[in-house]
Amino acid sequence: MCCRQDVSRWLRCGALLRLNPCVVLLVFSLGRISAGHGADAAPTRSSQNFKPEFDRDIRPILAENCYPCHGPDANKRKAKLRLDLREAAVTALPNGEFAIVPGKADQSKLVERIASHDGDEVMPPAKSGKKLTDQQISWLVRWISDGAAWQKHWSFEVPQRPALPAVKNKRWMSNPIDHFVLAKLEEEGLRPMPEAERSVLLRRVSLDLSGLPPTPEQLRNWSQHSDPVAAAAEELLASPHYGERMASDWMDLARYADTHGFNNDVMRSMWRWRDWVIQAFNRNLPYDRFITEQLAGDLLPDPTLDQLIATGFNRNHGINSEGGIIDEEYRVEYVADRVRTTSIAWLGLTVECARCHDHKFDPVSQKDFYRFYAFFNNIDETGEDGRFANAAPIMSAPTDKQQQEMVQLGTRMATAEGRMRDALETRIWKDTSFAEWLPNSSATNVVTATNELIRLAVASGDDSSTLVTNLAGPKPFQVKGKLELEKGPWAQPAIVLDGKTSLSTDGLPKFDSSKGWALSAWVRRDGTSEAPIFSTANFGVPASAEAYAEGLQVRVTPSGEVDVRLAHRWPGYSIQIQTKERLPIGEWEHLVIRFDGATLAKGLRVILNGEECSRDVLHDDLTGQVSLSAPAVLGSSSEPGAASFFGALADVRLISAPADLELLADQSRTLALQLASATPAPERRPAQNNRLRRAWLEKNRPEFAAVSAEYRTARSKLLELERNAPSTMVMRELPQPRPTFVLFRGQYDAAREAVDPDVPEFLLSFPKAAPRNRLGLARWLTDSRNPLTARVVVNRFWQSLFGTGLVKTSENFGYQGELPSHPELLDWLAVDFMENGWDVKRLLRQIVTSATYRQDSRSTAELNERDPENRLLAHGPRQRLTGEMLRDQALFLSGLLHEEVGGPSVFPYQPTNLYKGIVVAADYPGTSYTESTGEELYRRSLYTFWKRTVPQPTLSTFDVPDREVCTARRPKTNTPLQALATMNDTIQVEAARKLAERMVREGGGTGSERLTYGFQLATARPPKPDEQKALSSFLQRRLDAYHRDPQAAKAFVAVGASKRDEKIDPVELAAYANLASLILNLDETITRD
């Protein structure tokens, strides 16, 4: 009925634009109006002969309005109609009708339905809340009438380098970028703005590339060059501050924080990763390497420490330590976060929707999601972790300085070792008797009888009644399996374990574990299977329980490393270390493990034959005292399926409150020497011979003793450095890949079909020769045929300089993303970037030296009306400083900035008790805030301690995201809270005072000179006469006011921790400080003009 008429009406509108003035207007002004809701980009061509194009004009309408029910998601598809593929859209429907008949809008059901006025008929249905505009309907009609041509989505096609478009005003252009921008402006009948005033432009470049304003000296120097902007860019890109500026942006995407987030929001240590980012930008690491090392540094051949640290990118997500959460639920969240972050950061795709169902808009199926997920599902992590420190996998990441020291110590050790070796080899040892000078000891182990918890002893009897007793406890050991005895190193009885046998005690007596404990034993390893030699870990509770596997486990790895685990709840809340030294096969070795009773891995030390071992720390997040009072097992553990040790043990003892490490090591060394000495010379191993000979030389040759002491000192320093190196979280693959399944509705406990790692095929198939892991994924991402990566990356750098990307939705290049304002320019930049080695500095230099960038930022009322977001780039960028720049600039102008690069995060001023009443009540690291002192108060803002659940308030107020999730662009707000912060935040008031001091000291003798100086520092230009007049009369009024009330002046200049310049009269200083505060609050000062 009425729909027929409607169709014909629309057809007329489509064909004869004159009929409907509204549509005519819309279609003609289309340059400024885009298709999708909120998608206001793509200012375009003259519209007289406008033909809607599928990719640019039609698909956004369909995706927004139709795909939810007629798109890629098979489960939600209605009426078997699919509009995301042409073939499906033009095929007959089950009822014989055609949604789209190319060239024949009047026969297309789609047209009838969208034009209908019948509430039951109209599409999209009213209850969807969606409605097509007149303009959208007219476009659809025209497009179908024109043949309904289909195109692949623009960003899914490999970018090709386009030819430079022809332009009229050839003189304006500086480089190829300008061809594209000018061509579009000329098409729109617009002219670019002239170049900005030099000083303003140089300030813009300086803030853009270093995050700091220029100094007057820099301005002078740069201005002397023939191309000042190029000169400035050169200097700024080489400055260490460049990396800091770029890192700030990247930290948003990488959701970097100094705490784990969630309920407990405990402090973590990831600043080594943050510093890696700063350095990566500073050394201009090619961007494809930047991607590869963060994604898969651990999988590169022989990865460097830096490449391992880089993988922290995928560990920056929040980690939950709330008691009682279900591990797997959160582990799944972490993997999903990696998928989300990786795909937003480098693919500009939000694949997250496909976690629960096929994507409604983009061609990503749920299966695709889990294939992608499989790449990130393979590290040894736990859902509940991070209650005190970093969550595994971790590594110790010594700083550059520590690494240098380590290298030096290594050299010292090597030199000393060489000299000792010479001495050992030169001497003829045949007749040396060792026994006589060895300290005489009847002890067979290092610990005394006091504080014993376990002492293994074997009551001799006939073979059938052999009893293994615990001399420290009332009951004998229970033997599981067949027990054999033999003579131990001191002919004491030793127990032989055949890989099936184990012994266990009753529960051990409770003791105060805060005073530490030591375990010592003679150990002989006979096989290569991984097995516990000692365990009190109680696996007898459900894996989800809080005390799962609480206790100590000492294990030997297949290659002989000693692995020590001390857990509250395995594996989340535990310490795990592994020695680099190995137990040889078939030899008795004396092992001591000492724990200091605190909660850190650095207090857990291992001594082998009297020498402390170097070790790797695999877990370091113990939550408190660990009870060792559960039943102890020798040769195995209560873990279901635990292997049993193959070897022999003697003299196993566990004591509380042990002696100092040095003393234990000394005694252990003596024991090892005695054993070596007691061993008949022909049977001694080379290691034993060396041990004895070295001891002999130490005793008898002072010069050797000196070298040996030098060696020991260096080694002990090296181990100390190793223990104190900062920890960082990294990616580390499990030896056996964890299988990945499609999760029904994204739920952790609803596994369906198994999938293998793979990438969304429609973009580019996985490179054939590449490994199916994150490294292969990195190759796929950085392949020049990957249509998205380079576009997404160059777009984000563009966004960083212009405020808005060429694609405004820098996080979404999919169907629902916005179309690029300058598609050819984007492709040109992307291809040029790849062809020039993904060179970021080159890209930035290219952009800032373009005439486009150099334009004056002034606009006009007409232009504001026509292109409010400056997408046509008819004038230069004008942006409020970021939160970080705003504070850094104030520090810089006032001379307060402490310019150190990198290091642990710092604690600048924060309102008192900001955490009070908000943070978790427990006293976890990071639940209280202690302000830094001295120069640490004045570091650049990116070093500010970032607590996810209570972020630094001023930075938050200025739109720095909380970093709970990946953020590709910041909102830009303008609020009264911002005004309050720049008016009254301590750091701003203090900076105003220090800037005032500079004005008085350096500005000249008169008020007008001084205020000019201050104004110029802040804005890079002198004030105009009327500005000068306004400011100087304000200054005069403030001087008058403070003369009347000198106490007020003193109070104002007392704000902040820095000393004030006592040479300046407080009344004068206060008035200037008021003025400086005003200058720091000027719109021009807080803006990159």
Partner: protein, 478 residues
């Protein structure tokens, strides 16, 4: 005084009222109403007539036990220390805190209940003041959530998602409706700590964060004491006259800049500085309860004189409602009673009972209750079985999301009713379940907002508070 080239303040404000209109002056925390209507905020609602203009949400953080407060189960007395039948638990997952426990023994409430008011609604004797307002409130006994741990559960209630990253309810409302006043933020957060001294669980600023909405929609957390809003106070040594002079000069220079570069952001900035200046007076004025009559403190209790107490925050909530603050979010911490529940719930009940009831009474007296929606409740309830050892006088309860109680009152809500029934164990829902998304949909509905239509496009998709579900609970609407 000021130079002829530079506009005076009065000139500027006159101009900006014309030039900017509601752009900056109409909405204190910033700017343009997006995705919303041009209608004057709150008057007619965004999508249909509003029954409430504002919300006061009394969030009880930690998970109050419904078994002691609102969901009376007489029959449990006979089942003391019996195991929870498997037929009731039905494989429901339990937290890691009790999964190591051998038994799940039933713990009846130590405290009694009274049938109150005309409606005869059963309310726990721990809440004598709430019992008196029984005819003004609607008790919902069948709230349910999938979350069983604090962080995801509270995040779910406040943002509609268990995982971080989404805007909270107050931000959604602010985004949808804008401000009703020119001198105060439109979304305000107040936090009190229990008199037991410890809040146990963290409150996360994401709970009042704007997620992917512009940050101007985030809640402003007020602090007790002299500086309720961060950086509100001028530095020492700068008096009001000095600040005014400073601001006039700044505005004049910024206005000059606006003429030169024609960037409307500058005009907005000038307006925001003016708003900041006004807040410097209006906020302390709001917080200053010294002029409240004696009767106020009789109503709210003496603790209302103690800044930062729950009762004091309830009083502030009323003062903000009077001043047109759109969304007033209170949090009271300390309801997480895994052990010693009888002792601790008594303290918490005393903490919040009088203040909550006083707020309702006070709003009603002032004619504000009819267009103010008040919600009282936590992120989940607690288990019928005891966590840890059980005696008649001492027991603990673990988190329980499958059924728990909250109450609502005021604009749009049917007073004096209870809604929904749980089973004999207050474990499962027998009738009329109300999911978290349903509650959210209902709250928005009272404000004249269709929860399916208040959306924001982010990362290529339209997001809404209720994600992909949520049904307005018609049975509790007036």
């Amino acid at each position: 005084m000021n130079e002829p080239v530079l506009l005076t303040r009065r000139n500027f404000l006159a101009r900006s009222t014309l030039g900017l209109g509601s752009l900056a002056l109409g909405h204190l925390l910033g700017g343009v109403l997006q995705g919303a209507t041009q209608n004057s905020p709150g008057a007619v609602g965004l999508h249909f007539p509003a029954r409430a203009k504002r919300v006061i949400y009394l969030f009880q953080s930690g998970g109050p036990s419904q078994l002691e407060l609102f969901d009376e189960k007489q029959s449990l007395k006979a089942r003391f220390d019996q195991d929870l039948p498997d037929s009731v638990r039905m494989g429901q997952r339990i937290t890691g805190m009790v999964s190591g426990q051998a038994r799940l023994p039933i713990a009846p409430s130590k405290y009694g209940f009274t049938k109150c008011g005309q409606s005869g609604c059963s309310i726990g004797d721990l809440l004598p003041y709430t019992q008196k307002i029984a005819d003004d409130i609607c008790v919902v006994r069948t709230m349910n959530t999938e979350a069983i741990n604090h962080d995801p559960a509270i995040t779910f209630f406040q943002t509609g998602s268990q995982q971080p990253g989404r805007p909270c309810m107050g931000s959604w409302v602010d985004y949808g409706l804008g401000s009703e006043n020119e001198n105060l933020p439109s979304f305000v957060v107040l936090i009190s700590t229990p008199s037991t001294g410890t809040g146990d669980q963290g409150l996360l600023s994401r709970l009042w964060g704007s997620g992917f909405l512009p940050s101007r929609y985030q809640g402003v957390k007020l602090r007790s004491g002299a500086e309720p809003v961060l950086y509100l106070k001028d530095p020492p040594g700068l008096d009001r006259a000095g600040r005014r002079d400073w601001l006039d000069t700044l505005n004049a220079l910024n206005e000059r800049r606006l003429q030169t570069v024609q960037d409307p952001e500058i005009a907005a900035r000038v307006a925001q500085y003016e708003m900041a200046y006004r807040m410097q007076t209006s906020m302390p004025d709001l917080m200053d309860v010294s002029h409240e009559p004696e009767s106020t403190f009789q109503l709210y209790g003496e603790s209302a004189r103690q800044p930062g107490s729950y009762a004091a925050n309830c009083l502030l909530a009323r003062r903000m409602a009077e001043r047109g603050v759109r969304f007033i979010q209170l949090y009271h911490r300390g309801w997480d009673h895994h052990g010693k529940l009888p002792e601790r719930i008594k303290v918490l009940s005393t903490d919040v009972d009088q203040g909550s009831a006083a707020l309702i009474t006070d709003l009603k007296q002032r004619g504000l209750l009819k267009d103010t929606l008040v919600v009282w409740g936590g992120e989940f309830g607690r288990t019928v079985y005891s966590q840890g050892s059980l005696s008649h006088d001492d027991y603990g309860r673990d988190h329980h999301g499958k059924a728990f109680s909250i109450w609502l009152a005021g604009g749009g809500i049917k007073p004096g009713i209870s809604y929904g029934e749980t089973d004999d164990f207050s474990f499962n829902i027998a009738e009329n379940p109300v999911h978290v998304h349903d509650l959210q949909a209902t709250i928005l509905n009272c404000l004249g907002i269709d929860h399916e239509r208040l959306t924001y496009r982010f990362q290529g998709r339209h997001y809404r508070l209720t994600d992909v579900s949520g049904q307005v609970v018609k049975g509790i609407l007036a």
